[in-house]
């Protein structure tokens, strides 16, 4: 009979998402009689894919590149060739539009929106974490520029920037890239987050992310940013990078802070890769709805980056309940990552 793993299980509620997570170290010990998953078998050696420099003709149309008009580009923002939402449908907010079934009992909407790909490097074998802080900063500033363009559309409510790295994190392309999806709705996790942060603000008079620094959860800090494992992390070794100054929208990031953020992200990706053996991962930029501009809403929303290494899958319990089981206590993950590389 296995022991129950030392520490007792615990439930913790995250004050940003307002969700309970189950922490259970005993779960980490369970055996599996399925063969272990094959490692991320990307074709890093393949020299050419549509995202490589020189293969631009194989891609959907470009939106912009960095530097502008330069054949030796470092970043390209392009349309996704297989988009989840269509930019060519009638913009439902355009005055002349008669957008078919926009409102049958509020249960169906035309799939209007924008789905872009950000090619982070011209070179197939280079990964985001290989770039310098200045180069990572340029990727952030490309996100910012594209978000600003999308923000001019009244019908776009929210912009989700995210990255999939490795097949088990959902990636279908191995060339380093991220994606930008501009949505005509406010997605459920965002509404839930806003509601929860508003409640916190009303009770305590402070933004809950401004209050988040907790010694035993911090990994690394710089002047304006901090990396930490959240108190009720949904996933083992989940990491957040949070601005230490209050800011509702990611696209307020300026060029100087972008370099600082690039440096911290690079350090965190290196630590994650060392500790967890170059795991597949996702990152998501959590920002505020585009048209959230009144002072009271701006006071309690605060952008941050969530990084999730994909170490274990989920099962029917999580799909059914929306409640997650995490075998690693956040303070333990934070300690390991904090002490790595002696920083």
């Amino acid at each position: 009979m296995a022991s129950s793993g030392g520490r007792n299980p615990e439930l913790r509620k995250d004050s940003v998402s307002n969700r309970w997570v189950i922490f259970s170290p005993a779960r980490a010990k369970r055996p599996s009689d399925f063969k272990s998953k094959t490692p991320t078998n990307s074709n890093h050696l393949q020299q050419k894919c549509p995202f490589c420099i020189g293969q631009e003709h194989q891609c959907a149309p470009e939106i912009f590149r960095v530097p502008p008009d330069d054949p030796n580009w470092t970043i390209r923002v392009i349309e996704n060739l297989y988009p989840a939402l269509s930019r060519s449908l009638c913009d439902p907010s355009a005055p002349s539009s008669d957008s078919g079934h926009r409102d049958i009992g509020n249960r169906v909407l035309d799939g209007f929106g924008f789905h872009d790909v950000v090619i982070e490097t011209p070179i197939h074998s280079v990964q985001l974490g290989d770039l310098s802080p200045e180069e990572i900063a340029r990727v952030f500033l490309a996100y910012r520029k594209r978000i600003e363009q999308l923000a001019s559309r009244d019908s776009i409510e929210y912009v989700q920037v995210f990255k999939n790295h490795g097949a088990s994190a959902g990636a279908s392309m191995s060339h380093s890239h991220s994606q930008i999806l501009a949505l005509p709705i406010i997605p459920p996790n965002v509404s839930a987050r806003l509601g929860s942060m508003k409640d916190y603000f009303e009770q305590k008079g402070k933004c809950c992310i401004c209050q988040i620094e907790s010694e035993d959860l911090v990994i690394n800090a710089s002047t304006n940013f901090i990396s930490l494992v959240p108190y009720a992390a949904t996933f083992p070794f989940e990491i957040w990078i949070v601005p230490r100054y209050h800011s509702a929208h990611f696209h307020e990031l300026d060029a100087e802070k972008a370099v600082e953020l690039g440096g911290l992200l690079k350090l965190i990706l290196r630590k994650m890769s060392l500790q967890l053996n170059n795991p597949p991962f996702n990152f998501m930029i959590h920002t505020s709805p585009l048209h959230c501009n009144n002072a009271s809403e701006l006071a309690y929303t605060h952008w941050f980056i969530q990084i999730v290494p994909q170490l274990t899958g989920i099962g029917g319990f999580e799909i059914g309940t929306g409640c997650y089981i995490n075998p690693v206590f956040p303070e333990d993950a934070a300690k390991v990552l904090r002490e790595l590389l002696g920083s």
Copy 2:
């Protein structure tokens, strides 16, 4: 340049979960430069695992078996050896309990709860869909019996019954089994579902699941149950089995209806396996909170079974937003499954 896949993308909102799903046929066509996933490589041929008949000593303690006390059991309900929640912690509702940190700002709870495994068959190579309707009924009745036992605990708020089949659906054991997790909280998806179904009831005066039958979404129907693809299915080929009579709690199921339900589940598992090449899958029984007993709440909640074949993973977009992208329109999936086997 690939075409956009015929039909335009569309957003649909599910009236049970109250969530928007993006339908985008174009997404189905995207290429991948990662090697395709290895198929479910279970060790069906291995003769003995802890869940096999004769290996009972390798398992955590038994709660009950069917038939009772019979060495030739057909079903065993046992404790999970690596539980997410602990039954040996002080029951927080027990009058004498002084349960440590039950209430530090409502953000932490002792991990009290029950985590059981239901071994559905004594034989390693037999899968749930191989059983007869009567045998599947006995599995349902074992769930019911265990839920009734758990319902006697005031501190247990919700019981999640679920099944993981195949490694990509999260399973760590290949021997056919399901799990029962009894929780001291009402999980987020359940609260959201209750809220949404309550709103529907208040607006329309009817239970939204009683209203769900829609000709082009139905797969098969029997006297008391119907199988269908929901209007805003989160996953491609997601299937629901719904009682046609109003019932809030799964554990109200009687022995006769259990056989009918077993027959319909068997048919659906066979169709899914034929159409999708024996995919990994999860099923979840969505029921009402245990202590929901007042007439108004009982009027708008209605249990059902959700079956999700695991065909594609998710990525940063879904983790970030809680919004899903489904490349298959529900009416198309329903038509294919309806017409299969000529029924």
